[in-house]
Amino acid sequence: MYFGLSEDQKFFQENVSKFLDDQCGLDCIRTITEDSQSNLQEHIQNGLVNLGINSLLIPEEYGGLGLDMLFTAAVSQSLGGGVAPFSFTGPYVMAPIAIVYGGSEGQKEKYLKGMSQNTIRMGVGFSEYIGARDGAEIKIKNNKVSGKALFVLDAKNSTHLMLSNKEGVIGIVTSDADGVDIIDLTAVDKTRNFSEIYLNNVDIDVLGLTQENNNAITKSIDAGRISIAADSLGASQRLIDKAVEYSKERKQFGRVIGSFQAVKHMCAEMVSDLEPCYSLVWHAAHCFTYMQEESRLMSCHAKSHLSEVSKLISKKATEVHGGMGFTDLMGVHYWFKRIGVNRHILGAPELVREEAAKIQNF
């Protein structure tokens, strides 16, 4: 038995973290999230793609690295840890999985290859399938699509959009096609982008197998949930590190605040909550690739549990920083907001838990 990340996985993970630490410090994140004209984001995205982050899950025969979900989760942890201004989960986790499970040979050849070469970048909009709000609905008929998709992941940088209707039928449109209207949404976390998309009789390339069963969409959502959970895991760990470090430096009443039991206990509680999450996320990722029958339930657990734990940690870690935590100076809020939005991507925890109960026929 060996429960944990392999040397390769750790090595890759550290490379991503190191890249972000070197290239994408707080000032960089501040610029990217506040100045829409800045080209820094492109620089970071290119750097991450150069590390191969775009093709982790793409099978080798289509030019990818052919790695497994645990590898992907390990990378997500690093991205969350560095609040990377990079939308990973939609384009590079959910999209390839959907095509692997739902696409025809021709579609795989076209899209997976393009994605591995980064000439195709896919925005992903599955929110209607998970739970439609504000009348979001798309209709797919005779290879045409019309309607409205909400909270689409990374449409902004996309060449293509992968969309699902309520039944889980998935299709792909080109982002600049006539009849596609992409409107930016502003979420409290600006390190990633979210959009609303209007479609008016647009050509859509439907992934054939998705008309027969829901494998592709459920696999894709499971993968996305594990990836987002891992992102929150990494973000939470970084917040704990920051809080502990700060508590050893900051002095009040003539002593470092880390010497107060109240502060120690906040830190110890955060760690006690988070440590089991490593195992949960890794286990879920392992199941995704190697123990498919347990995979759906495990990914629900990972997503909903990490949503709760990370929310608590984002509050406590801010509190340890006192007034500094509330200012922009220490940047704690970037992690707070990342965690806040992760909580709701691909289903708020209440909805995901309901799903977990249904999966078990409760």
Partner: protein, 407 residues
Amino acid sequence: MNLNYGSEYDSFRKEVKDFCKEWKGINFKDQAKIPIAQNHESYGATLTRSEWQSILIEKGYFARSVPKEYGGFGGESDVIKNRIIASEFASEKIPPAMGGQGIDMLVPTLLELGTEEQKMQYIKPTLHGEMIWCQGYSEPNAGSDLASLQTKGELINDNWVINGQKIWTSTAQYSQMMFCLVRTEPEAQKHAGISYLLIPMETPGLEVRPLVDMTLKAGFNEVFFTDVTIPKENIVGKRGEGWAVANATLGHERGSLANPNAMMNRLNELISRMKEENIDGVRLIDIPVYRDKLITIQSKVTAFQSNSLRVLSSKLNKNQDSKLAGMIQKLVGTELRHELEGFAVDIMGEMGTLYEDSPHLRDGGSWQFLYMYYLGLIIGGGTSQIQKNIISERGLGMPREPKVQGV
């Protein structure tokens, strides 16, 4: 137990109800884009808000017991009437009088400890929203340990000359005046060396630098003092008594950070939201997990509101003791409000995370804003951890943590 205020209050309540009916739906020109907490929303007020303030004072719905010569209504102090006003205003969504640190903290301090000249000079414009104040207490190295503050004041030729720095000074960028704690007796023991000074913000040598906070608003500031010179008379209390003067009003701040009526109002807005919003066509209010959580929070808010009634009652009845019920208010109130706002974000899902001027924004983004803002208030005005120290040590008489040397 008797929850009736007494029949003498029936006619007063009716009068307030009529007033609310008359003003229902009023709006200000200077409404903040993102509405913030009731007590804070009128920072940086303009004329229209001042006019509202004057109307309220004239009716006796605000500054009731402040003497007329200082710009108040000049009535007898009546906590029950205040309570009636607050609850009627809240339930009819009539904007309450503006609050802020001048009104909530400085005015009570001056009434208690100010000189006649100070009362005459400052109270009226403050109550009318024409003079905004900020609180210059915290410093980079003096937050929870406020008494270690180092900003220095020296008496030179009948003037105070001030040098040093404050931080986290809310609303300093809009303020005309600051009430400030300054170390004037460097030889004295920590708490005994502080004075409470009143400083015009326009004094040369005083520089305000806005600080962005996590809500992305510059809600507070750094304030730098370089030979800031003010008249000797601008002191409240005596030299070296500033700590006691400040403590006389810290209680006022802590009370005002968590207003139970505002919270109940907010809860009712949330309930309306839950009836309007749906997911897959099912109203949020019909979804069992959300219903359960809503009622859990409603229980807490109701308990908190009742708790404040009990605190009120103990002010009216000598034989009642509600010391602990009073002490827990800042801790419980700010934590609960943060929970409530966070729950609202939660039920709205992805849409709850939208912010600023995003399409599909709900209620001006106020839920997400206040979820963060109340985390700030959990920290500001004495952190939750400090509140727990106070409750256990002063409330429960538990021994203080031993002093640890040189950690």
